[in-house]
């Protein structure tokens, strides 16, 4: 069930240039059903900024009721969020949306492809996949080394390839270049990142089981305002990214 909760910050750390890892504690954690779900964060009290910010759940710690968010302090809201300290409360609405479905079984291989700030939700996904005995391969793309993160954590869970646009870490180029160069094969693909990346993956693997996590500007985050719709590929229907997604089977909605 969706809850609105003042959650307590237990840790806030800059893990790469302008990339923050925030840990927050509260009952709401018990409601999280899937990796890839997100929360809607009120970055400051009062009405400025007005809207909540959607941020993916990067890691779940059910024992301590803590969830992790990894986000880029970029615009006004995320910058304010990055200035909060442990002990402070932050208003969280969530968990929201439908995350990555886990359809494979022990012994199968999942390829997890993340681009930039799309990487975080793949971390909890990878943890859950590996705990089920599914083999994971990670391909993570970043602009450059200084904004890359979670490499060690992912490496502990499975093979991890890095691509950077400027070549400052891993292979120079895009995630798709890595997949090609390394001739990676898989039973199921999960991806989150910029739309051009998702499009490329969708086109590259038309016959595979591919799940994509999409982003859109949101207002309500719960399916009521129609801000975040995407037309479905077949027919005149539509899906709301916040409540039907953010994860869709490739080909389900128009990217």
């Amino acid at each position: 069930m969706i809850q609105l909760e003042e959650m307590k910050i237990t840790e806030q750390k800059e893990i790469a240039t302008n990339i923050f890892h925030l840990q927050i504690q509260g009952d709401l954690v018990s409601q999280i059903k899937q990796p890839g779900q997100f929360v809607h964060v009120k970055v400051a009290e009062g009405i400025e900024p007005l809207l909540r910010r959607p941020i993916s759940i990067a890691k779940i710690n059910h024992e301590e009721n803590i969830l992790s968010l990894i986000y880029r302090a970029d615009g006004k809201g995320t910058s304010l969020l990055s200035k909060k300290h442990p002990g402070e409360l932050v208003s969280i609405l969530g968990p929201l949306g439908n995350g990555f479905p886990i359809t494979q079984h022990k012994g199968k291989t999942a390829l997890l492809v993340g681009g930039g700030i799309g990487v975080p939700p793949l971390y909890e996904l990878s943890r859950q996949l590996t705990s089920l005995g599914i083999r994971v391969i990670h391909v993570l793309g970043f602009q450059s080394a200084n904004v890359s993160f979670l490499e060690n954590e992912f490496s502990r869970l499975g093979m991890t390839y890095i691509a950077t646009v400027d070549g400052s870490k891993g292979m120079q180029g895009f995630v798709t270049d890595v997949i090609e160069a390394e001739k990676l094969t898989f039973d199921c693909l999960y991806a989150c990142g910029p739309t051009p990346m998702l499009k490329a993956l969708e086109q590259k693997f038309p016959d595979k089981e591919v799940y994509l996590s999409l982003e859109e500007r949101m207002a309500c985050g719960i399916g009521a305002c129609f801000a975040c719709v995407r037309p479905t590929t077949c027919g005149d229907g539509y899906k709301k990214i916040c409540s039907d997604g953010p994860v869709f089977r490739a080909g389900e909605v128009v990217l």
């Binding site: 969706i2 007005l50 207002a219 309500c220 719960i222």
Partner: protein
């Protein structure tokens, strides 16, 4: 809560707080969070004859104390609203105000006729901010004669009272208000959003795909209050006020300005419990201020005499 009940044409409200159209869908999402029966009423999403997908995304942008939206009247069409959404809402003890949209007068009439027959629809709200195809895309709500005509035509077919929702993007809001009153409107709702724009600082392009969008939220509250203040002194039909209400204090300002009930729009997005919270807080606020009944507040700003005697 006996200090909060209000009677308006078609509407016997247990309290004068309701979600504004377009900010609450058809209630399904919020019904998972609280019992909709505690609401005074519910203004549901604009409905057109046929289903509409609306505008391309991005559809929203943030502004200082406000937001822009250009949803584009996305809705499943009147048949589906009548046969699926409204019947689903019958489980709640809450009067529905059905928001009617169209791009021709005929469309308004057709939608109004159908929706007014629904069991739980106690009033219609004509959203006359939509562009009028016949008159070159100018909004119905900006030309008094057309505003009057669409009102009169909807009144002819409607089985429930008709409220007309005014656009604030006009030189003289009273002129439009008087026109719809003359057209037979049973009440007025205002304000709809103000047209605004945001541009991306890096690219120079509009943030919203539709280019412009409607500004809502606390930023517009002073404009909404001014319009309620002006209109309530010029017409003899009740007003449901809205625009930037976030708290019971904000709501009370609208009653003082001349509203008989208020609607909550954008606040539902930041706090999905905004409506129930405001209902509770309004009751407490009246108690604190020693006000016996919310109806005592209606129009107090102008009933007290023209000038402020406030001194800092």
């Amino acid at each position: 809560m006996s200090r909060l009940n209000i009677s308006l044409p078609g509407l016997d409200l247990k309290n004068p707080i309701m979600p504004a159209s377009g900010c609450f869908g058809f209630g399904r999402e919020f019904a998972k969070l609280y019992d909709l029966s505690i609401l005074g009423a519910m203004m549901v999403k604009a409905t057109t004859i046929f289903s509409r997908f609306g505008n391309p995304t991005p559809r929203v942008a943030e502004t200082s104390s406000g937001m822009l939206n250009a949803i584009g009247l996305q809705n499943p069409g009147v048949e589906k609203v009548f046969h699926e959404e409204l019947p689903w809402l019958e489980q709640f003890d809450v009067p529905i105000i059905a928001n009617v949209a169209g791009s021709t007068i005929e469309e308004y009439v057709e939608v109004a006729k159908i929706l007014s027959k629904a069991k739980n629809v106690h009033a219609l709200e004509l959203n006359i901010s939509c562009p009028n195809v016949k008159h070159g895309g100018i909004a119905f709500g900006t030309i008094p004669e057309i505003a009057k005509e669409v009102t009169a035509r909807a009144k002819e077919v409607s089985e429930v009272p008709v409220y007309v929702k005014l656009s604030p993007n006009v030189t003289d809001i009273c002129e439009i208000a008087k026109a719809v009153e003359a057209g037979g409107a049973d009440g007025i709702t205002l304000i709809n959003t103000l047209t605004g724009l945001r541009l991306d600082v890096k690219t120079g392009r509009p943030i919203i795909a539709n280019i412009t969008g409607g500004l809502s939220g606390p930023a517009i509250k002073p404009i909404a209050l001014r319009m309620v203040y002006e209109v309530s002194q010029r017409v003899n039909i009740p007003i449901i006020g809205m625009g930037g209400i976030q708290s019971a204090e904000d709501a009370l300002e609208f009653f003082y300005a001349g509203a008989s009930a208020v609607a909550i729009g954008t606040a539902n997005f930041t706090d999905p419990f905004a409506c129930p919270n405001i209902i509770g807080q309004l009751d407490e606020l009246l108690e604190q201020l020693n006000i016996n009944h919310i109806s005592d507040c209606i129009g107090r700003s102008w009933k007290l005499g023209a000038t402020s005697n406030y001194r800092a």
